[in-house]
Symmetry: C2
Subunit: 386 residues, 2 copies
């Protein structure tokens, strides 16, 4: 069978395999990033008009585009509805951006670590992923400048607010500095913000795209983390030079995003009900984060370092005695604990051993001690047999 | 701005532009292929469980995959649920297949004419589209054999049942012969069947994939033409050698298809209610087809030749005095009539002038005489000024 050349780069997804193994009910899973089931809001479909069943516009529903543009403007993003494209979940933005920019060998810039499904998409299309190390308050600026001086990446893909996996929130100063550097070198920014609304502690969050003066940009968001992921409704907002291409690529990919999900999202965005739901979500996840922090201090205090996440769904642990955390998976699953190894979140996994991503939204607080205790024991065993 | 090389092949869609122009309420549109609004069924969401809002499997909902596999087996397609992938509408199957098979320059085989949005997707990825002329009962077999002897296409993309645009239904003999040729030359078949259930007159319809003994295959269908296109729920069934790659490509493209649409489709497929709805649809469209045939005989009897479609949504007219039908568009729209020129349905538009695709499901029968009368006059004017 003669497949395309890109299929040689189509990797099996480690997280898919872990999640499949974690389906057994006895497994305590810190692996996934699912919203907590009890916090999925009840939604009402009784008022949805029959006309929503017809084919729709590739751009998305006009009223939804207007609402998203208004909310983005309130955040400081200079845009109107004509720049908003409704997509089939944020993953599709990565697919469309890959198609727009990436030929085999095209250089792009990502954080180290970065979102693994973004790496998967960029690498499928053949990107050469250059990376910039992440610090507690955003990328190392010297390294970023060096990268930009030495190469001309087609775009920079950054997740400045509660990054998956590192939970890093860029400081105000780094947001400004990153915008200035991208403007200086004329590099397009793709700013991915799925976790913006899942915030537990106050802090900087004005989007970087709103600070750009010259560079082109794509800003991307979703209702998956705050409303219902099963709707598969996300959006991108793009600078006017990029939008028409992204629209045609969207049309070619799946004609348009499902309209029933768009209709439901429209009922929530900007409503009082949605504000209340977001507040309840934040309160719920804050309690889980705090419980996780307490349990981690007990079981991982001597094994690893981490920052308390101010938003999002994950803790990112750095082992003091690094090892390839992928080698711990089988032992952990044998103890009925699942976690996500850190290596797949790096463009160069081999140089970046010793991180674990732990989700705090799924496992109930009363089971944390048992689960993290077992996981810590697996880490100790792994370290002792190295 | 440095875009990928594929963007040089990303064309503006003529049909998008026509449909936009046809939005004016005074325009009688024969251009689109939308299901008739009055025939969109009323659907009930009250029983949908809240858990459908959570993330789902990339493969699709297990129960829906089972049902689709069972229906396909009843048609003669040898498959089980593990070969079924739920996609975000059939257009996505074309995107996934393009990614699986096409590098710049890859030869593929299509009918002449073929579905224009398939051409758009294949060409975006750089396919060299070889074509085989369509006859009233399917492809010219000599031409097909010649093509297969001279080149080794990555796949053949055929639409054997009520093809869009030509409305051709392959005969039993041609279905057999096509399967035998693809087996002989070991060429993968992509068989696209959106219109299978919109059948007005009995005849051959056993899928070609069910006749293959050796070649790999993808069979693709959708609920868009029979239930609600706004759900964006389609499916593909693939031979086991292709399935795992398509699944990973799906995951990379948008994680999974929206689950609310999948849940709704599951309520209908295989139900008594769905059988009744399909029967009502067929009766409704048969009446519209017959009215269109009568009006066409009156207005186009001397201008063009065509076959009466036995299914689907379109008449395909061949002008006796050919001209580039794209040149008629402005004049038609000025007369408040929209139609779809035939040229974009060919891999080589310039060698294939003189066809019109006319949809019969949208314009009410009582307005046909007025609309087709005006369109015939536009054609006569165009021919006289050539």
């Amino acid at each position: 069978m003669a497949f395309s050349e890109r299929i040689t780069r189509l990797k099996s997804s480690l997280i898919r395999e872990i999640l499949a193994a974690a389906q057994r009910p006895e497994v305590m899973s810190f692996a996934g990033g699912l919203p907590a089931e009890p916090m999925l809001p009840k939604v009402d479909w009784s008022e949805m008009p029959a006309s929503v069943g017809q084919y729709g516009m590739s751009e998305g529903e006009p009223a939804l585009r207007e609402k998203i543009a208004a909310e983005a403007r309130a955040l400081g993003v200079p845009c109107d509805a004509s720049q908003v494209l409704i997509v089939s979940g944020s993953q599709q933005t990565l697919d469309l951006a890959s198609k727009l920019f990436i030929d085999p060998g095209t250089e792009i810039l990502v954080e180290a670590p970065t979102y693994l499904a973004a790496l998967q998409s960029f690498q499928l299309f053949g990107a050469n992923c250059l990376s910039v190390p992440q610090e507690a308050d955003g990328p190392q600026l010297d390294a970023l400048r060096q990268r930009l001086e030495r190469s001309k990446p087609a775009f920079a893909y950054f997740i400045p607010t509660f990054q998956n996996p590192s939970a890093v929130r860029y400081s105000e100063a780094k947001r400004e500095a990153v915008a200035a550097l991208l403007d200086e070198f004329g590099v397009t920014l793709i700013e991915d913000e799925p976790y913006r609304e899942l915030v537990f502690d106050a802090g900087s969050a004005t989007p970087i795209v709103s600070r750009l003066k010259r560079a082109s940009w794509i800003y991307t968001g979703t209702v998956s983390k705050t409303l219902l992921p099963g709707l598969r409704v996300g959006y991108l907002i793009a600078s006017p030079d990029l939008f028409p291409h992204l629209l045609r690529l969207k049309q070619c990919a799946d004609l348009h995003t499902n309209r029933i999900g768009q209709w439901q999202a429209l009922q929530w965005l900007g409503s009082e009900q949605y504000s209340q739901h977001l507040q309840a979500l934040r309160d719920f996840y804050r309690v889980r984060r705090d419980a996780m922090q307490t349990a981690l201090e007990r079981h991982f205090g001597e094994l690893a370092d981490w920052q308390v996440p101010q938003g999002g769904l994950f803790f990112w642990l750095t082992l003091r005695q690094p090892l390839d955390t992928r080698t711990l998976l089988d032992a952990a699953l044998a103890q009925n604990v699942a976690f996500m190894p850190g290596e797949p979140f790096f463009a160069e996994p081999e140089g970046n051993h010793g991180h674990l991503r732990l989700n705090f939204s799924h496992v109930a607080p009363e089971r944390l001690d048992e689960g993290l205790g077992r996981l810590a024991e697996v880490v100790r065993q792994g370290q002792s047999t190295q």
